[in-house]
Symmetry: C4
Subunit: 206 residues, 4 copies
């Protein structure tokens, strides 16, 4: 199943395509924060107050920005372990990118309706689907061991896949559920997830 | 006609340019799904109902997302067979990218007017033109055989070109026509085309 | 002035950055064509008529799409002749990209006000500035001959620079002026310029 | 800490991701300049006057365009000195990109409210945070000397880091403060900063 064989993809072009999607999403997120319209354009008070009112959108944007960066890091680490990209791996990656490219919508929704449990849960559900795609992509690789580079221990990879299930969809589903108690609990969970990944742990290297 | 000769292009930069267009289109598609404005920002019922009303847009977006991924796959497989890019090949590729970069418009149109045959047909016509560009690009390569890498069988490539006509513009034109019977038949056809490509068949490898 | 020396840039990263800008501009252009809002969402007549009313925008978009592709081709051919990128070359390239990244604005303006000479002239003036940047970039290279690769004949390059002045800013300024006689003469000139470049001539290879 | 070791990143993919963000931001900036709506579409006077009214937005856009180019240049020069990217360096770079990707917002804000000190200060504060990230990123590298390529003098790098503090956040904070005297003083400072970098000085090569 060497590079160039029918049915496989160049890892380079798949990574470039994915990186393109990540870079675009991370930059498009800010477009949802729009310049406020105020009555008197020269009033500093009015402008300052309407900028302060954008705080929920800024919070929502920062959360998504660092989350997409964490997804990029995980994607980068994962793809470095692959020898080549087969048909199935390509489409699991496309499914992952589908949910990643959807992120601007729940981000804007949560920014607009931060006090509404539906908006906050929607964010968690989309992120949960995204994290689930990571798990399913890894499971496809476990079932097709030849996709892994020789120096990667298949057993360690399988362990990492279990962690990916435990630290991926589960916290997001918990966050989505917590939104019905209080939206701010969800937001705290959504912010904690990238923060957990940014400060490195041993489990991340799997 | 070696790389670097006057009149030819670096395959790398043409692929990077094309990949950029694909990655941007696939991510821009979601911008057409806008956060709904509701009367009472804290009403979960109202927000849930207005999110449910976005379903046609989501369906339209998912269809286009996977379609653009299929186009990327076909583009990737095709360009891997080329030794170099001449003037004509560059401009057929540009024509293909013209229709690809237009996809957000019919996607949004179909998302907004899913029950309107004009909107549904418009989607099929644009996709049909896109698929036709693939066929014309391949025909240009058949007429300039030196563009193909030596290990590619010109006869097999010519067969694949016929398949590209049969499985490309024709189903989209059928979908565009079916919209006048019932728009959902078109949508089913538009969804079936990428699904057909995602589950691999022998004809794809040509 | 070898790659890696202080004051020079990696040609690879400058080309990647430029290609990114080209790919994004070429795809953003279509965002200016918005789905029309109609009274009765199921009326095929009304939707067909409002789509037909988008024709000036589509014409404007197609013109700009192929123009940006021609700019990319010229950029690609030009940069292939350079041994390295110095400080001045980088900033002339940035000036060129400034005008390229501005193209969506005059394109949308001309699409909205095709019958207004101001809109049509504005398009020509922006394109003229863009073409002028190409000329000034080339002149910088002539004055710093060490930037050219050894196998490039400096005399032929200087001739090509004169052509770049003649076939670049001049036709666009002519187009901008013609808009005051009749906007459609301008549009014909703007369309003719990329068409002239798409069908190859000997002067292009300089 | 060689390339490929656990905990490090491929410099290539981090640069590609960053370049993607820079290229997208530089091109998105123009989207904030929208085609004006006028009463009589064929009136050249009305259109010319409403285009002239866009001048503050154009000024704001040009300032940000060249500023992002200067950031790209600094990023390019900096990353060329690194042997590899560790966890901390990646996240300082992500923080830098967070502020870079935010630039379209203060740019549009300043374009809309050029006479309002709040808008003008906001621009300086965001740019100051961006410049501060550069300084913190460099400080991380000083503390982890193994990240620098062998031929880079650590002492010279430390000097350059002090310059990065002096010529980075400080002028932007000065600009933000000056906005309360007169917004045009701020704008002059914001424009002067990229102009200073565009015309090369010895300190830049550090």
């Amino acid at each position: 199943m060497a590079e160039g064989e029918a049915g496989t993809f160049s890892r380079g072009r798949v990574e470039t395509f994915s990186d393109g999607v990540f870079a675009i999403i991370v930059t498009l997120l800010v477009l949802e924060i729009r310049v406020p319209a105020i009555g008197n354009p020269e009033s500093t008070n009015e402008l300052a107050r309407s900028l302060a009112a954008l705080l929920p959108k800024v919070l929502s944007w920062v959360t998504s920005f660092f989350t997409v960066c964490v997804i990029w890091v995980n994607h980068h680490r994962l793809f470095r372990m692959f020898r080549c990209i087969d048909h199935g791996l390509f489409w699991w990656n496309a499914t992952l990118l589908l949910f990643v490219s959807f992120i601007p919508f729940p981000t804007a929704l949560m920014g607009d309706y931060l006090a509404n449990p539906v908006a906050v849960s929607c964010y968690g559900l989309v992120m949960g689907c995204m994290a689930m795609s990571f798990f399913l992509l890894r499971r496809h690789v476990i079932r097709n061991g030849a996709l892994l580079r020789e120096e990667i221990d298949a057993h360690v990879f399988a362990m990492g896949t279990k962690y990916a299930l435990l630290f991926g969809p589960l916290p997001y589903l918990a966050g989505a559920a917590a939104g019905w108690m209080h939206p701010f609990i969800s937001l705290a969970i959504y912010l904690a997830i990238p923060v957990y990944f940014i400060f490195p742990h041993s489990t991340q290297d799997v």
